[in-house]
């Protein structure tokens, strides 16, 4: 015996006889009529002539309504996604340590919890969720940007989502300023003299 050939719908991915139960049924039918007219005839033509009973009619009506509602919802979601912007913020924690904060992921069909796990695995770092924002330890803004773009394209088929990178500088402490100045003097890159408070007193 040979294998069964099943025709799958390009629009909804279901076997074509299940298109009716999909939220994109109207588009499915148009696709089938154009690409597989024989199958379309078989599935839909005699149905229109046939006397359909009340129950089937009701089911069909409710399916139509569901389809419309879904279409509206999809449209709005897509608009929201295209208008939104992901912000990757680099925060200086100490002189050398940085963490990054990713904002604006919640409008996309991504699971933050899973994403956080994925990040910590992939980048071998700590990642946590704080008020719908992902916080990662480490200076990873560039890597994350590439990864997020790729992810959105693969998972949601979205291209050209705006990703903005910002850097939040930490205020330097007195000691660091002093150390910096001292280093500058030692290197001869600065002629300015900076005397630490203590040394001032001694003098």
């Amino acid at each position: 015996m040979a294998l069964v050939e099943t025709l799958y719908c390009k629009i909804c991915t279901f076997p074509v006889d299940f298109c009716d139960y999909n939220k994109k049924a109207t588009k499915c039918k148009a696709w089938l009529e154009e690409n597989h007219p024989a199958k379309y005839q078989e599935l839909y033509s005699n149905k229109e002539n046939e006397d359909v009973d009340e129950k089937t009619k009701k089911v069909e009506e409710s399916l139509k309504k569901m389809e419309l509602r879904q279409e509206k919802k999809d449209k709005k979601e897509l608009e929201d996604q295209q208008n939104s912007k992901i912000i990757i913020k680099t925060i200086e924690r100490t002189k050398r340590k940085r963490s990054i904060e990713i904002q604006g992921l919640e409008v996309f069909p991504l699971n933050l919890k899973k994403l956080s796990k994925k990040f910590s695995n992939k980048f071998a770092t700590g990642c946590s969720i704080v008020d719908n924002k992902l916080v990662l330890q480490g200076d990873l803004a560039d890597d994350i940007e590439i990864f997020i773009n790729q992810l959105l394209k693969e998972e949601a088929g979205l291209d050209d989502i705006k990703v903005e990178k910002v850097v939040a500088k930490r205020k330097k402490t007195e000691e660091e300023l002093a150390a910096e100045a001292a280093a500058a003097i030692a290197n001869g890159t600065s002629t300015a003299k900076y005397v630490k408070g203590d040394e001032n007193k001694k003098a």
Partner: protein, 182 residues
């Protein structure tokens, strides 16, 4: 059970040895005696290696040529992907049929209630299908299987009691496993 499965669940992929593929085919033929070795060879060719895709929550996916063939929780039995099921005729599987009205609910992620099977459009499972067996669910007026589940009541009980959950749905058209691309 695969409602929330997404690509983000994937932890890693590894290639399986050809001996695994050989054993798997033997197991399948033992389990589904109506499937012939030639048919199976067409779906899982010797030349194409099988891959194991490990996911969160101890889920393993077995793939061939970027198509998912089976899913497996822990070391439980292999749950065939519906695309795999669709390749074989209905007679190869332990099956039952639901009426038209039940389709909508199944594709929405519900389990199958007895009345969906006992009504005019439904067909009860045959007697050799036991409780907790994997069953393949077809629908009135449709060719392809629409879900795979576990039988929770014997055919006799479904007929006589006619209420409650008859089949616990594991995998259905449009769920996370169906939509997963490897």
């Amino acid at each position: 059970m695969f409602k929330k499965l997404t690509k983000q669940d994937i932890k890693g992929e590894s290639q399986l040895k050809s001996s695994f593929s050989r054993n798997l085919k033997q197991e399948l033929i033992a389990k589904y005696p109506s499937i012939t070795a030639d048919e199976l060879e067409e779906v899982i060719p010797k030349k194409k290696p099988l891959s194991l895709v490990k996911c969160e929550d101890r889920l393993s996916l077995y793939t061939c040529d970027n198509q998912i063939l089976f899913a497996q929780f822990y070391t439980d039995e292999y749950i065939p992907h519906l695309k795999f099921v669709h390749k074989f005729s209905r007679g190869c599987f332990k099956s039952l049929q639901v009426d038209k009205g039940a389709i909508k609910f199944i594709l929405g992620g519900s389990d199958i209630m007895c009345p969906g099977i006992t009504s005019k459009g439904g067909i009860l499972p045959s007697d050799d299908v036991k409780v907790n067996d994997l069953v393949f669910v077809y629908a009135e007026g449709k060719e392809s299987a629409l879900c795979v589940g576990k039988l929770k009541m014997s055919g006799e009980d479904i007929k006589n009691q006619n209420k409650g959950i008859a089949v616990e749905v594991i995998h259905y058209l449009g769920d996370g496993l169906w939509n997963m691309k490897i």
